[in-house]
């Protein structure tokens, strides 16, 4: 292998700045998409357990359609497919305000939300039906029973699988480079193009992802222990 290593390309010139910008964009994109995904996931996951059939059917359609299609297709769909259907004024505004970033947030959020809702539904279903009946018997409304009893317990049961999905979201944010969002993988490619040092650039990008993922995994396992309800935590895995 006749490859001349030159690690200094990573801190000389603009490389470090580009990688830092990429990291910030990746974090912004992932954070916004995560908020969207959690909201959609909770909504769809809860709707799939209600008794009113049309609501349940809508939630099933959302989950089954969006999680079973590749994220890349959703990126193209939200970035190239949807904006032409919007009014001209909205289109102009979008393309002056980073349309690719917002398309990526929606694609990533809607896709991950569908996956998260499955995790949330499993959490809700793992809570004994009697808990729900007991809350109604205590005089709570259905909404209160969900908000005060079911969701607080379910959310704690699902911390481990949700961490997994959140890390998937972070890693999947790299797909946004296909619609030219300047996130970490995009900037890694940029460093590689400008310095012609592929291995150094890819190593830097890979290490940043590894540190991010390991860091989040560590923080979440601490939180998991902090919020665990004694005697309840094994239930999701067992059910």
């Amino acid at each position: 292998m006749q490859y001349q290593f030159k690690w200094s390309v990573l801190w000389s010139g603009q490389s470090a700045g580009w990688l830092l910008q990429g990291l910030i964009t990746t974090l912004e994109l992932s954070a916004l998409a995560w908020i969207l995904a959690v909201c959609l996931g909770i909504l769809a996951g809860a709707l799939r357990t209600v008794t009113f059939a049309p609501l349940r059917a809508a939630a099933v359609f959302y989950v089954e359609f969006f999680r079973n299609v590749p994220l890349l297709v959703w990126m193209f769909f939200w970035y190239f497919g949807v904006p032409p259907l919007l009014p001209r004024v909205v289109q102009d505004w979008l393309f002056n305000h980073g349309a690719e970033f917002w398309a990526a947030v929606i694609a990533l959020g809607v896709y991950t939300g569908a996956r998260m809702s499955e995790v949330i539904r499993a959490g809700i279903l793992s809570i004994p039906r009697t808990q729900f009946e007991a809350s109604l018997a205590m005089g709570l409304t259905v909404g209160q029973a969900y908000r005060l009893i079911i969701l607080p317990i379910a959310l704690r049961l699902i911390v481990p699988p949700m961490t997994n999905e959140s890390l998937n979201l972070l890693k999947n944010s790299s797909v946004a480079l296909t619609i030219s969002v300047a996130e970490l993988t995009f900037q890694t490619r940029q460093v590689e193009t400008y310095t012609a040092k592929a291995i150094e650039a890819l190593t830097a990008g890979t290490l940043i992802y590894l540190v991010l993922c390991l860091g989040i995994a560590t923080v979440m396992s601490r939180l998991e222990r902090r919020f665990a309800i004694p005697g309840l935590i094994a239930r999701v895995g067992a059910g």
């Binding site: 079973n68 959703w74 193209f76 993922c213």
Partner: protein, 224 residues
């Protein structure tokens, strides 16, 4: 919205882009099927290596799994794209690059499934197999793995669906799969909404039928 763009390009999208039939190297299925088979085979080795008693087998396998599960697939594809020509000193077609990246990446995930499956078989089975005079390899091949595989089926199918969807990422290095085929047609016809919705439905039909099949297998009681 008109479906004319789909019908007039149906042959290119489905026959070439999806099935990969024809003289050129392309096709979602042509990439997905070998990637699933080879990724799973490598995954069996990775999963068993993670359970090995010998530390110099177990620790590299653990690092392998943790590394690839902490890195985006897109990054791995780019690695292969740059590294393979450097190592082999020959240009490799996109198909080879993509297939290598998928097999190496997915083996880490398949390995975790295999490990969980093997661990789900009770320890008494190993002891009984050894007491009957089977060697370690024999008891793994005839007693543990057949039972473990049955326990793994739901997780395996889920991972196959993930891998099937991930093959769309091969389009970013220029491999002509269904997604790239839709992009090529869109560049000429500028009908993004129809085209991307259409390929979404094609992907959905495949993955949804796979998950229905998995659910049916889960319900069927195991023959032992």
């Amino acid at each position: 919205m008109s479906l004319e763009v789909i019908t007039s390009n149906f042959q290119f999208l489905i026959v070439q882009g999806f099935f990969g039939l024809g003289s050129f190297a392309g096709g979602t299925l042509r990439l997905a099927v070998p990637a699933i088979v080879l990724g799973f085979l490598l995954g069996i080795f990775v999963g068993l290596a993670r359970l090995a008693a010998v530390p110099w087998i177990r620790i590299p396998a653990t690092i392998y799994v943790e590394f690839f599960r902490g890195v985006p697939l897109v990054m791995v594809i780019f690695w292969m794209w740059f590294i393979i020509p450097q190592l082999l000193q020959i240009p490799l077609p996109e198909y080879g690059v993509a297939l290598t990246a998928f097999v190496i990446f997915e083996a880490a995930y398949f390995g975790e499934i295999v490990r969980a499956g093997v661990q789900s078989v009770s320890g008494g089975q190993v002891e009984a197999a050894r007491a009957l005079g089977l060697t370690g390899v024999q008891s793994m091949a005839y007693v543990i793995l057949p039972q473990a595989l049955r326990n793994m089926i739901p997780a395996l199918v889920t991972q196959m669906i993930v891998l099937f969807k991930d093959t769309s990422l091969a389009s970013i290095i220029g491999y002509v799969d269904l997604t790239k085929a839709a992009q090529i047609v869109n560049n000429r016809e500028i009908k993004p909404f129809e085209l991307y919705l259409f390929i979404a439905v094609v992907y959905w039909v495949c993955t949804y039928s796979m998950s229905r099949l998995a659910r049916r297998m889960e319900r069927r009681p195991s023959p032992v």
